[in-house]
C-alpha cells in the first residue's frame, strides 16, 4: 500500500514514522523507496529527503532571520525583530559565559546555531501531525516526516559534529595531555593503562551518543503521542495545534486534508480578527468552537483539545530539549578546553 492512504491504525502510525527515502536500492537502483521495507534494504547508501529538506530549510530560515537582524543592528534603540534576536543572543551569551571558561570565538555562535536550529526543528512537532503530510500526499509525495529531530540521523549528525569539535579542541589545546587524560585517568599508574583507556573511551563516546539520542528520544516520543492522540480520536488524520482531528467517516480520505485546511484557516482568521480587535473574545471562542464542532464532531473536538493540551506541554519540551543540547555542547567543549 505504499503511497496510498493508510487504512488501519497500525498502518497509519507506521506511515507517519516512515521517512521519504532516496537511495541506492539493490534492485531498483537510485530511486525513492516505496515503504519502510525498501528503505531498509537500501542500507547506508540512502538519504532521508524529508529530514534533510526540513532541516536545511529551517537552518536557512534561522540564518535569514538572524542575518536580517544583524544587518539592522544599530547602537540606537532596537526595534521589532532586532529586539527579539538580541533577546535570544543575550540569553545564549549568558549561558555560554556561565559554563564555558576558555577563550574560543566559535563556542557562542555554535551554541546559538544549535539552540535556534534545534528549537525550529522541534517546533515542527507543534504543527498538526497530518497537515503537511496530507497536503503533500495530494501532490504525490507518499511519505513525509516533518520533524527532523525525530530522525536519529539528524540528531546524531549534530552530536557527531560536536564530537569532532571536542576531539579537535582536546588535541589542539592539550596536545599530548589529551592522550595522558585518556590513559592515566582515573588510575594514575602505567599498569592500569588498558583499563583507563577502555573506561575513558567509553566515557568519551557516551557523550555524543547521549547527546544525540536524548534529543531524538524526547522528540520521537512527543511525536508519537501526537500521532496516538490523532489515531484515538480521529483515525485517518488530525490537526494538532488549533483544530480537532479529521473525521474519516464523514468525508472521503482525499478531501480530509483540504477540508481541515479550510477549518484551520477559518479558525486562524477568526483568532486573527480577534487579535486585531475586530470581534470580541467571547465571539471568537464561540466561532472557533462552532467551526471545530462542524469540522469533526465531538469526538474530533476531544482529540483536538488533547492535541492542543499536549502541544502546550510540548512547547516546554521542545524548548528544554534545545536548551539541554546547547548547554551540554558548551559543557563538553569547555571540558575539552580545560587542562586536568
Amino acid at each position: 500500500m505504499a503511497g496510498e492512504n493508510p487504512a488501519t491504525t497500525t498502518e497509519y502510525i507506521q506511515h507517519h514514522l516512515t521517512n521519504l527515502v532516496y537511495g541506492n536500492h539493490p534492485e531498483n537502483g537510485w530511486s525513492f523507496a516505496h515503504g519502510a521495507q525498501e528503505a531498509s534494504e537500501m542500507g547506508f547508501m540512502a538519504i532521508h529527503v524529508d529530514s534533510m529538506a526540513w532541516s536545511i530549510g529551517l537552518g536557512i530560515l534561522f540564518c535569514w532571520l538572524f542575518r536580517t537582524a544583524a544587518k539592522r543592528a544599530t547602537t540606537g534603540v532596537p526595534t521589532g525583530l532586532l529586539n527579539f534576536v538580541e533577546l535570544i543572543v543575550e540569553f545564549i551569551d549568558g549561558a555560554v559565559k556561565d559554563s564555558f571558561h576558555g577563550r574560543n570565538k566559535m563556542v557562542a555562535p555554535l551554541a546559538l546555531t544549535i539552540f535556534v536550529w534545534i528549537f525550529l526543528m522541534n517546533f515542527m512537532d507543534l504543527l498538526p501531525v497530518d497537515l503537511i503530510p496530507e497536503l503533500l500526499l495530494l501532490t504525490g509525495v507518499s511519505y513525509q516526516k516533518i520533524v527532523p529531530s525525530t530522525d536519529p540521523n539528524i540528531t546524531l549528525g549534530m552530536a557527531l559534529g560536536v564530537f569532532v569539535l571536542m576531539l579537535f579542541y582536546s588535541i589542539k589545546i592539550k596536545g599530548t595531555g589529551f592522550i595522558s587524560e585518556l590513559t592515566m585517568h582515573p588510575f594514575n599508574h602505567w599498569g592500569f593503562i588498558p583499563i583507563n583507556l577502555f573506561m575513558e573511551t567509553v566515557g568519551l563516546l557516551a557523550k555524543p551518543f547521549s547527546l544525540g539520542l536524548r534529543l531524538f528520544g524526547n522528540m520521537y516520543a512527543g511525536e508519537m503521542i501526537f500521532i496516538l492522540i490523532a489515531t484515538t480520536f480521529a483515525a485517518g488524520a488530525g490537526a494538532g495545534l488549533i483544530g480537532g482531528g479529521l473525521h474519516a467517516q464523514l468525508f472521503g480520505e482525499e478531501t480530509n486534508a483540504l477540508f481541515w485546511l479550510v477549518i484551520f484557516i477559518l479558525v486562524c482568521s477568526v483568532c486573527g480578527l480577534n487579535l486585531k480587535g475586530k470581534i470580541s473574545t467571547g465571539k471568537t471562542v464561540l466561532l472557533c468552537i462552532v467551526f471545530m464542532a462542524i469540522g469533526g464532531g465531538l469526538t474530533a473536538l476531544g482529540g483536538g483539545l488533547m492535541q492542543w493540551g499536549w502541544a502546550v506541554f510540548h512547547i516546554l519540551v521542545i524548548t528544554l530539549q534545545a536548551f539541554i543540547f546547547m548547554v551540554l555542547t558548551v559543557v563538553y567543549l569547555s571540558m575539552a578546553h580545560e587542562e586536568h
Binding site: R67, P152, G157, M158
Partner: protein, 156 residues
Amino acid sequence: MNINLTLFGQMVTFAFFVWFCMKFVWPIIIEAMEERQKKIADGLDAADRALRDLELAQNKATDQMKEAKQEAAGIIDQANKRANQIIDEAKVQAVAEGDRLKAAAEADIEQEINRAKEELRAKVAGLALAGAEKVLEASIDEKSNRALVDKLAAQL
C-alpha cells in the same frame, strides 16, 4: 530507524550553518549590543553627573537666596529705622510749629483784646463826656439827673 547518508548530510549542513552564524550573525549583533551597552552606560553616567550638577546649582541658588533675603531684611530694618527717625523729627517739628502758631494766635488775641479795650475806653470816655454834658444841662432837676445817669448806666 535507518542510519544512512543523512547523518553526514546533517553534519555538513551543521558545519555550514555554524560557520555562517559565526561569520555573519554573531559578531555583528554582539558588537552592536556591546556598543549600545557602552552608550547606555555613558548616558547613565552623564545623567548622574547632570543630577549632581543640578544639586550643586540648587544649593548655590539656595545660598544666594538666603543671602539676598538677609540683605533685604537689613535694608528693611534700616528703612524702618529711618522712617521712625523721620516720624520723630516730624513730630518734634510739628510740636514746635504748633507752639509757634499758638504763640502767634495768643499774641493776636492779646492785641485784639487790647484794641477792644482801647476802643471801649475811648467810647466810655465819649459817653462819660456826653453824660456829663447832659448832667450839666439839667442839673436843676434832680429827678431828671437821676434818670439820665440811670440811662447812661443802662447804656454801658
